[in-house]
Assembly symmetry: C2
Homo-oligomer: 407 residues x 2
Amino acid sequence: SIDGQRLWDTLMAMAEIGPTANGGSCRLALTPEDAAGRRLLLDWCEAIGCTWRVDRVGNLFIRRAGKRDDLEPVATGSHLDTQPKGGRFDGILGVLAGLEVFRSLHDQGIVTERPLELVVWTNEEGSRFAPAMVASGTYAGEFAVEDTLARRDADGVTLGEALEACGFAGDLPVGEPRLDGFFELHIEQGPVLEDAGESVGVVTGVQGMRWFDVTFTGQSAHAGPTPMRLRHDALAAAARLIDRLQAHAMADASGDTKVTCGCLDIEAASRNVIPGEVRLTVDLRHVVETELDALQALFERELAAAGETFGVTVSQQRIWASPVVEFASECIAAVEAATRAQAVPWRRMMSGAGHDAVYVSRVAPTSMIFIPCRDGISHNEAEYATPEHCSLGAQVLCDAMVARADR
Amino acid sequence: SIDGQRLWDTLMAMAEIGPTANGGSCRLALTPEDAAGRRLLLDWCEAIGCTWRVDRVGNLFIRRAGKRDDLEPVATGSHLDTQPKGGRFDGILGVLAGLEVFRSLHDQGIVTERPLELVVWTNEEGSRFAPAMVASGTYAGEFAVEDTLARRDADGVTLGEALEACGFAGDLPVGEPRLDGFFELHIEQGPVLEDAGESVGVVTGVQGMRWFDVTFTGQSAHAGPTPMRLRHDALAAAARLIDRLQAHAMADASGDTKVTCGCLDIEAASRNVIPGEVRLTVDLRHVVETELDALQALFERELAAAGETFGVTVSQQRIWASPVVEFASECIAAVEAATRAQAVPWRRMMSGAGHDAVYVSRVAPTSMIFIPCRDGISHNEAEYATPEHCSLGAQVLCDAMVARADR
Ligand SMILES: NC(=O)NCCC(=O)O
Ligand SMILES: NC(=O)NCCC(=O)O
């Protein structure tokens, strides 16, 4: 069984690389801090006899040999990069729990049939290079290697240049090694488990997500002398859309419809000027693809209606779409069996957030394990998961991996 | 009668001081550009024998002698400062039309009974030092001199320091000279006259205005895993408030209710993060004070309801209130008589925007003259009024002033 204290100590040690003022971490992808985090992990892994390789987009594959190294490995992993003011658990837990699995097996002298692989996926957060999960997506064939290497950060540095600069430009062809299966442990990043008093989520898939950039173009004018009937108020139209989308999502008793408007920018805003142009982001999610289609259609209708009501021109662009993912039943079953053995409250659930497992699931049988995080908060220095829950998640991960590797 | 071409030439010459890329002007209050504009005006006025004084908050009083210089002067004026990307007419027309009145009387050898006074009020726009109309407000006793001098711009420079630096710190006590009457010519800054095909607005008063800073405090959380029912979405609450206020204002068939939300800021916005804090500005206007009270009460109720619906804490602060102004009937009548003499389509109307005349009207009989501006646009480089309308407005101003000065 795994050593929860040791796992916690590695989490806290990793958090010291790129520490932030309020107890979080800042390790943007492929910065010196991200590289230092990877090297710390590699030191720990080499100490227990693991070997490692890096592919052309910087994905790091750390192998623990099995009895049959000719077979494809059973893998785990997540990411070590963080948001600018990120937490100590999002991604990191999934990587360090993999390390803890390796260490525990090492301590107990256990060698699995199949080799095990711990993967650190590059740039999951998407904070430095958009979009999120770009390197696991490249591994799975969703993005072309050259395109990924050419993506630029806000300073114009390409992902390829950043890889060279930080020493993690590898030569392993992207897509190798092929995996027999992939398990990812992650904090839930939402409040569902905590709210229900449950300790483990057996993740059966990931909801579909679609991202839109919306522009409302009206006419800016002075707030005082312009009659309501002659206005073309871009913010009024945006507010109408937001309100209608919220009302629709809140009316769905199943709770499966999710709508979020995260960014709203008014061009040249001033308190006594009617907004002439507003840019809004819309994030639509649903666990059923056809329902997501219907939600998008509703969004398009409400957008057109809001524009018409307020005499405002509207346009929208869908900039990302991630279809509903259903994980492999055999991997879900392995996680469920390992969870049942712990005799804690648990549930099957869909992931609300995208994870590297979304893309990996296209090329290997995959599932995920969630543990609760305090107040559902993540992407925030205040992100927290208890040592007990981290330990529990790592134990479930260990048991699921060993079961699959030895099947 | 006044010389419309000469007026237009002075407007265009003034616009060359602090010109902007797209044909507007940038003369923020008490900058070197603003001072250069004032000096150009003073050169023109001295050339026709005027004298001038500056009060302690930089208001500039330029006098044309009358037959009875022991009597209080009949005054006109407006402001020379602009928005950062302002136009060539807002404020400037009111000042340069006053100059044109003086020049025309000078050319024709006319001396009025009472002296005439052309006033350049400091910092009307409020772009550099908040609030707007602060120096005419100080003249009228609304603000204390020391408070006005201590107001700071975004760089921390006080209004008093800026006055010294630009050479317009005067020693005339604020509140002097007392005025027999005040007429202000201004572009409408709205589309009403243009929309109706009318050339002059006889301004009978100014609608009441109230400004609010509103804060919505919810809880930021990840857009994906957070169920709608557990959200505290600050933007959803703000959108609900905006939508309800818009619906209320648009439903007022009289057109007298005006609501504008000009600024909306989301704290640490990200497209997949539920907004945790939103700051919104609300501008409420009405021509009837008791209706404005009712509008504020409605705003407060809708704000509370929006907060409750979305589980968001709300707070608001009223940062400015300007009561409904009714101009002096004798001054309105003088403007109306001068307008009728021109045989053009005109209307009586309330001003939608605040002007220096709002505060001056508390201490002297006052009214205003509006001319149309293209598409109702102001506070914008594209602001435009035709030479014909400028000339017409200046003629009405001249006739109203002379009639009062000789009454
Ligand atoms: N885990 C995570 O934050 N992924 C980013 C994509 C998403 O918004 O779900
Ligand atoms: N004329 C003008 O823009 N005044 C500022 C105050 C207002 O918003 O009405």
